[in-house]
């Protein structure tokens, strides 16, 4: 009788372990596949919503405060979670990446996140943005392939801003807040240049470091002038 019970107990333990293994396998499927499907769809819808908003009649837009004005002073007053710009990085394939206000994890599943206290695109200071390296659409998956001189284009309601990368991607400690300061590495100093900073995690699958890409504004043109040269010339691409 006890032998029968022992067999049942051992068999149940084995079944539970197999079940846990299956759940782990499902979790991998969720992380590697499902989050990308969901995030890609979310990014597409954010981008098309922005295009619709920007294409709307000027009257409709003037009723609603223009997005740059809403974020005017480069502090936290913007609406958290609202998409307000589109990032184009020719080197990474030129995919349209929506930029949302705020950097919490739930937002990074719908685009890349703007550090709320950093400057707005095209303004004096540092326009700092965080994005996923892996999972959830992985917009910055190949950020390590960026090179000095690469162009980064930010599209807003009324302007195309073109930034030029000023050094190869580099690695910092996750607590190194200086990289998103208005003057990088000199927190508290009043800025005079118009910079961009992209942050993501490094290495893949780990969060032990942060990979940083920085650049400076080199050109801007109104939306009505059409896409900037950075997007129309055949830029070197990765992938």
């Amino acid at each position: 009788m006890w032998a029968e019970r022992a067999r049942t107990a051992i068999r149940s333990a084995g079944e539970i372990l197999i079940t846990l293994g299956l759940v782990l396998f499902l979790f991998c499927t969720y992380q590697l596949f499902y989050t990308n499907v969901v995030a890609d769809e979310a990014m597409r819808s954010e981008v098309s919503d922005l295009h619709k908003l920007w294409a709307g009649p000027p009257v409709a837009r003037s009723v609603r405060p223009a997005v740059p004005a809403a974020f005017d002073t480069a502090d936290s007053q913007g609406r958290t979670g609202a998409a307000f710009a589109i990032l184009h990085i020719p080197r990474l394939g030129g995919k349209d990446i929506p930029v949302l206000q705020g950097t919490t994890l739930d937002l990074l599943g719908r685009g890349v996140g703007h550090y709320k206290d950093s400057a707005l695109p095209g303004r004096i200071g540092n326009f700092a943005v965080a994005g996923h390296r892996k999972t959830h659409g992985e917009p910055f998956r190949y950020l390590d392939e960026m090179r000095t001189g690469d162009l980064i284009v930010v599209e807003t309601a009324d302007t195309w801003y073109t930034y030029r990368e000023d050094r190869d991607p580099f690695i910092v400690d996750p607590a190194d807040l200086g990289v998103v300061a208005p003057v990088p590495d000199h927190p508290g100093v009043a800025p005079s240049r118009k910079l961009i900073t992209l942050t993501t995690c490094n290495p893949w699958w780990a969060s032990t470091q942060r990979m940083i890409v920085t650049g400076e504004l080199v050109a801007q043109q109104p939306r009505s002038a059409g896409e900037p040269p950075a997007l129309t010339v055949n830029a070197p691409k990765f992938q």
Partner: protein, 52 residues
């Protein structure tokens, strides 16, 4: 465990199979929709921002 569950499912074999599949599907939906998103931030591989 599974033998015990199988014995307690009602009906003929094909009904048992259908119920078992439905339960399995429900569990997968619960995992993907609620359990995994809840676990995910606790995992150490999704930090993308610099912060203190």
């Amino acid at each position: 465990m599974y033998a015990y569950l199988w014995r307690h499912l009602p009906g003929p074999v094909y009904v048992k199979v259908l119920i078992a599949l439905a339960i399995a599907a429900l569990i997968v939906v619960l995992l993907f929709g609620w359990v995994f998103p809840w676990i995910e931030p606790l995992m150490p591989f999704s930090g993308n921002t610099v912060s203190q």
